[in-house]
């Protein structure tokens, strides 16, 4: 017995330690929504370096793009002038709609929804691993950023804050596999949950009988308590209705280009 123990001791000890590490991970899942001491230290230590390096890279890219690599500039300029003309026409038309909206609001005695305070932040780093989808922003608890706050850009939802240190925070993108957002279809208000799939999203739990078409817009429902209602998540990319089963299989293309995230807005007050 003693000989067997002596012979297999490293293996058994390794197994026990690995099991303990797994157990510790499992126990820590309960405090998953809080920033622990070591994570705070890492964020504080790496943040300034990441920020500095990010500025250097952006500076170099600006120098290259604005002063050295000007081959496509003339073509870009021509396209922008054309686009500008089209947008002016659209703007004139939308002015009419805005004025009409104003008149109707007055008629209905509409009260403006209370605006949520926002804080602009710069994305300074991405997730260190290829398996997860998070970004680091240059605002933290000193600026009022805490865990759970929603993060958006003009195009739609980006994610929510999962870790915060005094000056830096980490944001879990909606495309991460562990992210789920209570959502609804803008057209017919069919409810479901948008889950991250790395680069796409899946819209789960939409009943079979609900009408869902490619191109339909998916927005937040405000039910999860994190995101305000009506923020754009993306557009339906594919719909599969099996012969059996309660739900449809819907793929959603996010409206935000996560590979080019630079500036984001943190919504400082949660909808609740």
């Amino acid at each position: 017995m003693w000989e067997w123990w002596h012979k297999n001791r490293p293996l058994l000890l390794g197994g026990v330690l690995l099991l303990a590490a797994l157990l510790w991970y499992s126990v820590n899942l309960r405090q998953q929504d809080e920033t622990n001491f070591l994570e705070g230290v890492v964020l504080r230590a790496t943040g300034p370096i990441q920020s500095g390096l990010d500025q250097m890279i952006n500076g170099a890219a600006d120098l290259w793009g604005r002063y050295l690599y000007l081959i496509e500039t003339a073509e870009d300029n021509r396209q922008l002038i054309e686009e500008n003309r089209t947008l002016r026409a659209v703007l004139t038309a939308s002015d009419e709609v805005r004025l009409e909206n104003q008149r109707l609001r007055l008629l209905l005695d509409f009260k403006e929804a209370q605006e949520i305070a926002t804080l602009p932040a710069l994305v300074i780093a991405e997730d260190a691993s290829s398996w997860f989808r998070t970004v680091t922003i240059d605002k933290g608890s000193e600026h009022g950023v805490t865990e759970g706050l929603p993060v958006v850009v003009a195009e739609g939802v980006v994610g929510r804050v999962v870790r915060s240190s005094p000056r830096y925070s980490r944001v879990l993108l909606i495309t991460d596999a562990s992210s789920a957002v209570a959502s609804l279809l803008q057209n017919n208000r069919a409810r479901g949950v948008c889950r991250g799939q790395g680069e796409q999203l899946v819209f789960d739990f939409v009943l079979r009988q609900e009408e869902a078409k490619i191109g339909d817009r998916v927005v937040t429902s405000g039910m999860g308590g994190v995101f305000p209602k009506g923020l754009v998540i993306g557009k339906i990319k594919s719909v599969v209705r099996q012969k059996f089963g309660l739900f449809q299989e819907i793929e959603v293309a996010p409206s935000v280009d996560f590979s080019h995230l630079e500036e984001v807005l943190v919504l400082l007050r949660s909808p609740q």
Binding site: L22, W24, E126, R163, L172
Partner: protein
């Protein structure tokens, strides 16, 4: 102590490269896992107790910049370290192709352990299929990064410390000499 500080500094550089520089250079979500390569190296050349503790600590610190599950990377990297330690007495640790092979095997083990820990313990769904799609690219990137690091370390050693040797790089064959 000196060596531990060097390892910590190397891990710090790896993290900064992976979070800022490599995403810009590679233009996408995929990037080589330099910390995993360091863990494989530690498994080959460090003593079990000190190396194990260091790897677990590095894993915990890694959680500060990768994913949102405290203790996950500690568990996964510790598993990779133990697996490497398990075979270290049976192989020639001075062989560079072995390091490359172990990096590939370590990446596969990392994928299995991550998917297992996420699927069974957290509320993450569809993680196996999602990670399986990324797996070939990750294997290739880690292999290339290990190859580049091998060449770079040989060049650095010859240029800056010609009289010293790096553990694991004493008997390099000509393919990895620069």
């Amino acid at each position: 102590m000196n060596r531990t500080l060097i390892y910590l500094a190397m891990a710090g550089v790896a993290v900064v490269l992976q979070t800022v520089l490599l995403p810009v250079l590679l233009q996408g979500y995929h990037k080589p896992d330099l910390l995993l390569i360091l863990v494989v190296y530690l498994g080959l050349h460090e003593e079990s107790r000190r190396g194990g503790l260091l790897v677990y600590l590095l894993g915990w610190a890694y959680d500060g910049v990768a994913g949102g599950f405290p203790g996950l990377n500690g568990f996964v990297l510790f598993a990779v370290f133990l697996a490497v330690r398990g075979i270290v007495s049976r192989v020639n640790t001075e062989s560079s192709p072995l390091l490359l092979m172990l990096v590939v095997a370590g990446t596969a083990l990392q994928f299995v352990m991550l998917a297992f820990a996420l699927d069974f313990f957290s509320q993450t769904t569809g993680v196996w299929s999602q990670m399986a799609w990324q797996m070939p690219v990750q294997l290739l990137l880690n292999f290339i990064a290990a190859l580049v690091l091998l060449r770079l370390s040989v060049w650095l050693q010859r240029t800056f410390m010609p009289r010293k040797t790096l553990p694991g790089l004493r008997k390099l064959d000509s393919r990895y000499e620069s």
